[in-house]
């Protein structure tokens, strides 16, 4: 199954019955899958007139308390960013998928990770975050989609699956043997008062600054809980590593090959693969900064995650960048050479 299809099927299994989207390469398989499946299971697939309309349809369904998603690729996510901000301001859960492609502007249609800043910093205007999940296999496309819905509901915020064109297009075996948790109640939803309760209002407007400040403080208290409880990452051969690669998504898969090759050649290399990009696995990086000589951030961007790596390690260890951009992907050899170079002359 293709990565994009795995996302769509997982969403359906998670109980999502509403999908709104607008065609854009390389994620259109998600919309196509939903268009086929939703009518057969009593769900709604609607091709919106624009990405802006799609995210606002998401806003509507989410207000009414149902699981809902949209998906797009980089230029489309920029258009949706308005809606992402409103979802955050109204504390609404939603799942948004970004199968990143190279930018800026129209850029290209080949894979990229250059929306890291946009995703981890929120995307739209205002103080807010999204939970950002970074799958590196087709199986994780499914797993993290389901997890995304659960976290979104639990914390009343948007969860973004930050994928890329490669993982979206590739096929790997995937198991859908999930235990789907029961969805939590949403007493705040606008489902009609049925004349049995006071009216619910879904809103992000607070003209009183004291009140607005209070909502921001409360939101950030919630974010602290998320940082404590929901940070995920994979540590691969890190415990004795001199050279540590930081990489997520497709870059992590390439890097794993390089780490294995380095180990085969007697270099103590390891890999930290953040699975949640927000919250960022700061503690894991801080821990390994104590013994590593150098960290290499391998990215399909001009160096975005590298800033979080430096913050997390308080600059205790040199952090360098190894990247390809514009739709190009680093090769295992490129990463391996960077490891060798760092091992020979780099380090603290």
């Amino acid at each position: 199954m293709k990565g994009n299809e795995a996302i769509a099927e997982a969403a359906i299994q998670a109980g999502c019955r509403h999908y709104f989207g607008y065609p854009i390469t390389p994620q259109t398989e998600i919309a196509a899958y939903m268009a086929k499946r939703m009518p057969k299971i009593g769900g709604t697939f609607l091709q919106a007139e624009s990405e802006i309309a799609a995210i606002n349809m998401v806003y509507g369904v989410s207000s009414a308390g149902k699981r809902v998603m949209t998906s797009s690729s980089s230029p489309g996510i920029s258009l949706k960013s308005e809606g992402l901000s409103y979802l955050a301001g109204s504390d609404l859960p939603a799942l948004v998928v970004n199968a990143q492609r190279g930018g800026p502007g129209l850029g290209g249609i080949q894979p990229s990770q250059s929306d890291y800043f946009q995703a981890t910093r929120g995307g739209g205007h205002g103080d807010y975050h999204m939970i950002v999940l970074a799958p590196s296999s087709v199986q994780e496309m499914a797993d993290l989609t389901i997890k995304g819905f659960e976290l979104a509901d639990q914390y009343r915020m948007t969860a973004m699956v930050l994928a890329d064109g490669t993982i979206g297009q590739m096929m790997e075996p995937v198991s859908f043997d999930f235990e789907i948790k029961e969805q939590i109640a949403k007493p705040w939803a606008t489902t009609g008062t049925k004349m049995a309760r006071k009216h619910n209002v879904v809103n992000s407007l607070y003209l009183n600054p004291e009140q607005l400040e209070k909502t921001n403080f409360e939101r950030y208290e919630r974010y602290e809980v998320i940082k404590q409880n929901e940070t995920l990452c994979e540590e691969y051969l890190c415990d004795d590593a001199d050279i540590i690669i930081a990489a997520f998504g497709i870059a992590a898969r390439v890097s794993k090959n390089a780490v294995n090759e380095a180990r085969a050649n007697g270099i103590k290399a390891g890999l930290i693969r953040p699975i949640t990009l927000w919250p960022f696995p700061e503690k894991v990086f801080a821990k390994h900064a104590e013994h590593a000589k150098q960290i290499i951030s391998v990215e399909l961007s001009m160096g975005q995650m590298i800033e979080d790596v430096r913050l997390a390690t308080s600059c205790k260890v040199p952090v360098t960048l190894c990247c390809r951009v514009g739709g190009m992907i680093p090769t295992p050899d490129q990463v391996y050479n960077a490891i060798v170079e760092a091992n020979e002359k780099g380090g603290k």
């Binding site: 490669t166 297009q169 590739m170 096929m171 075996p173 497709i250 794993k256 294995n260 090769t331």
Partner: protein, 178 residues
């Protein structure tokens, strides 16, 4: 053991499908597999290739840069990937479409006029499956049972009649000798 395959040619030649059959066959044989297409803006024509990896271990990077096996179905693909093939690897050439010979002497090369053979059978678009039959044969990997199951997986019920034809083409490839 890990084997990396690269299928390369024009869009519309069924290379992505070949890769899919191979990946499903691997899956049925309990291997770890990945299948990754190149994707471009064109729906027909243009270059198309796909990377398939079959391995006993979890698959790392899914992009095949140094294939053990190259199946080339047009000149630009052979030009581009010929030198990337690992020493001791295999190159399969559709000799109806590629006139030149492979310049390497450290790889096994097989020339199959697949497009002509397929056209003779009235199915010019199934040259890919003739190459697939030949490929699995030279690799000593032609397992009737898993091949059939893989075809079953890859051909939708709507095109069930195509299954037999695909299988027949693979047979032709299997039995072809230069």
């Amino acid at each position: 053991m890990t084997k990396e395959y690269l299928f390369a040619g024009f869009g519309g030649q069924g290379l992505l499908f070949s890769g899919k059959v191979l990946a499903y066959k691997g899956l049925i044989e309990n291997k770890n597999v990945s299948w990754l297409p190149s994707y471009g803006p064109e729906m027909r024509g243009g270059t198309a290739n796909c990377s398939v990896i079959l391995s006993d271990d979890p698959v790392g990077a899914p992009i095949v840069l140094t294939p053990d096996v190259l199946v080339a179905m047009n000149n630009p693909s052979l030009d581009k990937y010929e030198n990337a093939v690992r020493s001791g690897g295999v190159i399969l050439v559709d000799s109806s479409l590629i006139e030149r010979k492979v310049n390497r002497d450290d790889v096994s090369v097989y020339y199959v006029p697949a497009t002509k053979l397929a056209s003779d059978e009235g199915a010019p678009t199934l040259a890919n499956m003739i190459l697939m039959g030949k490929l699995l044969t030279v690799l000593g990997d032609y397992n009737e049972e898993t091949v059939n199951k893989a075809l079953e997986k890859c051909i939708s019920a709507r095109h069930a009649d195509m299954k037999e034809l695909n299988r027949k083409m693979m047979e032709i490839g299997k039995n072809y000798t230069e």
